[in-house]
Symmetry: D2
Subunit: 368 residues, 4 copies
């Protein structure tokens, strides 16, 4: 019914941009995991608005309060884990205009069509990017579960405003090089592999902001260490599981795995990943254009996807819209504190998406 | 659990490439629809292997037998509709080699990792593209339901081997021109808008076949006539619903909606679709880079997606693999009758994906 | 995955007896309902421990805080509605003994088998009857939705310790008499129709308490005003929907609809409900031994069920158990403040179960 | 959506009484099970109408054709297992009268309310008891999976027309005696433990038939050998899982576990099952009034339920109904070949319900 997903790991996300609180309930977590709440807070901080030049000046602590699901020593206890994030920094503002003049690129008008005026319009309501905070809370815990089984997840800004970072070498079958890239990303405040890319991306974002406009980007995400054989056939494969969640993230408009759209221009002889034997005698794909899965089932190679994030729809520039009350055309300039590029803050969201989908697949397989 | 999907419209797909039969069960269809079995057969024929130069020489009738779900006058009766397609043209062949030497680009090895040797390897088993036949049976009926409510769906080969067709003008807000394109596609035996594109694509496919190789493509699909307000928030929006099914189709590696990946290079002021009033005074987006939905909820504009189809992994050329029994590296050339490009036959599959996802969203909304 | 249920109305319950908070998330509520929080608080109060002689001396306010899902004017806004109940009156006590010596009749030992020591044992953890508080929060809102569509729900103690109340005349087809009974119940502090039954039941409960023991009971619940045609065939019929939730309520061990077990001793000519015409010319069953549904689909007659509640397992009397650490037999007397009969407080829980199941069925039908 | 159920084991049942075929699709079966089709046929034969004096004279072979889900050597291959049963012995008869004058006790009128005339009325359509045949096909395979892991399931007619069989001693904690009872039942053509009970039950059934009437019964079902710790908390516990399926079986009106309704009249000190140590030093409940589960989680003791089956609604006696076309009251006598008591043929159905619910719980736990 929309705001929940998953089969063996079931996540239910709730809240509106300006409701008293937002949060999530996570069912199906393995019991006995000692949740590292400091690590969770650090993960949340990567998504939180922070006041950097490329971000919104709005500050939100996004402190996650785990109200159930842990035992007295802080381990997952088998019961559903519920996270609450109080909305401390909301604005009481006047949202009548939002209800009257829908913002282009937002769900204002579609929410009206669906809920006939009862929708909470403030800050985009349930469709706000703010809902990625509880998604990250759930994902941050999933990442800890995966890490305890040797799976590592990382993402970076592959592209912003047409400016490219170095690509992850997840499709090349070079494990050491990929590990090195993931190590670099773990220490970078801005999520690019290459510092030069950061510089040029930030400049592009600031330029857009100065012009009352916004820019988009592409995020590349990888997971290593997953065993072969995870995922269910057809519609609950690894790609389907990731896709359903990824397209639930506001602003995501495209998704590709491995070679992705580029595979459509390759020959089969180029795109197929041949098999070989590694030093230990295990069968492995010699490269990874499949993005770590075949038929939706993991191969053991890194799972890798790229997702396209559209430019922030909230822009200061004047846009054409309609006055729903007057029934006339109207213009609109979105006031307030908005990210001129949402992509940097969406990088941990991509990691959360990856972690939640993979953990669900692993739990479905009954082998975790 | 993989082979079924949907919430209010629930589809369960069964079968293996060479099992006695394949088929599907569809729960939740509105009652009272007079199923046009001739139209369904024509739809199935578009997916069926036909012996054209760009297709496999293998012929399969793919006759759909509806064994339950209709009343005596041929209407949907509310009970689950079950379709059966007997596998008449299977080969008894020797599949031990398949089990021994996994084919690159296929799910042979991942199925082994998942099912530990019990999997049905013949023809790819449950991972075979043949499973798109029951998906099309379900989708063909969904298309009839949608058509009875004014929704029209069409798809075409946007690209094969790098050769492009004319694009659908679904993102331009020009309804008449789009209708004209859909009319053209309804009469084309090869699914391109432009006959010249057909000629060049077929040549590229034949060239690949001659070289023992294969090519991929991109399919663009559109649906018009959907009311605004369909789709559930977040993870059951229109994009998530389509994505989950689309990535369940073998060989699909990428998916984008509206401007898709290109949106990542646009400014917000370019990508946002401004609102205006149509001649009847209705609020409408003036263009459609959102691909017919915002926040996952339909805007009333055409829903449009592009999906990338990888080159057929079965190729005659020699490839590197591994002999799982001997534990040695090995080479493999895939024999048999295979499509050098699967994309043309995947065009009706894209329409089925679109129809099943949209009908599920519509039924979930409780307004059909 | 256990703690959530429902198809079109999806309820996720979280919390442990002594976790920081307990609560629920409800997805799929119709938008635009003005939630009456005072009425909800009164409904919650019926379940809350209150200090009556037949109840536990422990007092809990069970104040429901709705943290999301409402718009600024207090209507359901379409987004998931999340309820939070802080656990204010927990005891910090020593639960090591609970972990060491499992209490008969509780889930202590089965939770250990399932979660291998990580379970939260305090107060029964996630298996505590306390979890019926968030179920009642969800159910209380469902009751308001149903009431706004003319559906009325009531329950009473049909039996406690073998002492019977008057039965609801829901199976007789006498609507006026049933309405009168429901009116009486609306004003009764102790949930029996007959004051004499209260007196005798309370005496039996106090007698059991005085003897360090407990008693059980049977709750009868009815819903009137439901239209015909709700419920899905076979496994999502009205009976299945109610049953799944009812058996999720701690201490429920039996459930029957309409004539129930007594039907097994009737002839078909006695058990069948013949059809007739009411004064307005509508087709109606002339009696209601079917309990308001046939084939799981509502007939329009009152839906009626009886559910058996076992005696409270927590008793002061000494019981045989086992010391899991020492590996020896042991004895145990459950200390603390416990209801000597849980059935009176389970009466609103039965109404919540009825409301949630019926609202889900109604929403699934797409006709609400 | 009604005709499917299960979480990790997903069963979809299709067909109408007189459709071309009926069947089921089972997803999630463990791979590698060698299906014993002869044993399955014997199990199906126990449900099939056979022409005994207590049954319908109508004969149906109910041959199960497994069209997918097996590999070439007859093992489950991981893909969905689909079963087809052709409807060979249908009557072409005139069902207009059924549509005009609904039969009391059947779903004729509720199906009309739900599907507005499009429903398949012949033989009760999708609501026919015939749909328990595919349920038994799925259940028969689940029984084989469970048997391969040491779980044994048996059921008997605990009561018909008020005549009681010996009760299973599943609640007494006497394993040897229970095994002896299960051995006896395995060899009995009529499902009572006691031959004398058979004689008296058959006489009562024949007497009802002679009078144009029918009788009901109660079935008791037990499963032994299940490990402790299976079932999910709250709404996916063992009781909820069984209940949802059981109430989907036509004619079931009541269900109880362990002491069931009788528990409501016991004291806590009587109803609680104390723990002790068995000869091997394992902790075991010393009796089993809980019916093998606490908090919905298996204790390791036998799971035991009783379900009430109403008298067959199809009776030769004249009944009051309504002519929907004329809008007048009418009378009706159900012609045709009907079981005067459906309970004997429902005994294997109870076993199928038990097996499917337990296997789903086991698979959900990820420990099978």
């Amino acid at each position: 019914m929309g705001s929940s997903f998953g089969t063996a790991l079931r996540v239910s996300v709730f809240g509106q941009s300006h409701s008293a609180a937002i949060g999530c309930v996570v069912e199906g977590l393995p019991s006995g995991l000692a949740v590292d709440q400091d690590a969770l807070a650090r993960f949340m901080a990567r998504r939180a608005p922070g006041g950097a030049s490329w971000s919104t000046p709005r500050k939100e602590a996004d402190a996650v309060r785990i109200v159930s699901g842990l035992n007295p020593v802080g381990q997952t206890c088998g019961a559903p884990l519920a996270c609450l994030i109080e909305n401390t920094n909301t604005r009481s503002g006047d949202y009548d205009e939002l209800r009257r003049i829908p913002r282009p690129g937002h769900a204002d008008l579609t929410a009206q069509a669906k809920w006939h005026g009862a929708q909470d319009v403030a800050g985009g309501g349930h469709f706000s990017g703010r809902l990625t905070a509880p998604l990250c809370a759930a994902g941050g815990i999933a990442l800890q579960v995966l890490a305890s089984h040797g799976v590592r997840v990382a993402a970076h800004l592959d592209e912003v405003a047409g400016i490219e970072d170095l690509h992850l070498c997840a499709r090349k079958g070079n494990a050491d090089q990929l590990t090195a890239q993931m190590d670099i990303l773990a220490d970078r405040p801005f999520p690019t592999i290459c510092p030069d890319a950061e510089e040029r991306m930030v400049a592009a974002i600031e330029e857009a902001r100065a012009e009352g406009d916004s820019v988009g980007g592409v995020i590349e995400c990888v997971a290593t260490g997953l065993p072969a054989g995870l995922g269910e056939p057809l519609f609950d494969g690894i790609e389907s599981a990731i896709a359903r969640i990824a397209f639930g993230v506001p602003a995501v408009k495209g998704l590709e795995f491995g070679a992705g759209f580029a595979a459509a221009r390759l020959r089969g002889s180029q795109n197929n990943d041949p098999y070989g034997l590694d030093e230990a005698g295990n069968v492995v794909p010699l490269k990874n254009d499949a993005g770590g899965n075949l038929g939706g089932i993991s191969t053991g190679a890194p799972v890798v996807f790229r997702m396209a994030v559209k430019p922030t729809p909230s822009i200061a520039r004047e846009q054409r819209s309609v006055d729903l009350v007057a029934g006339t055309e109207a213009t609109l300039a979105v006031r307030g504190r908005h990210d001129p590029c949402i992509a940097p803050r969406a990088v941990p969201v991509a990691e959360a998406v990856m972690a939640l989908a993979l953990l669900d697949c692993w739990l479905m397989s009954g082998t975790l």
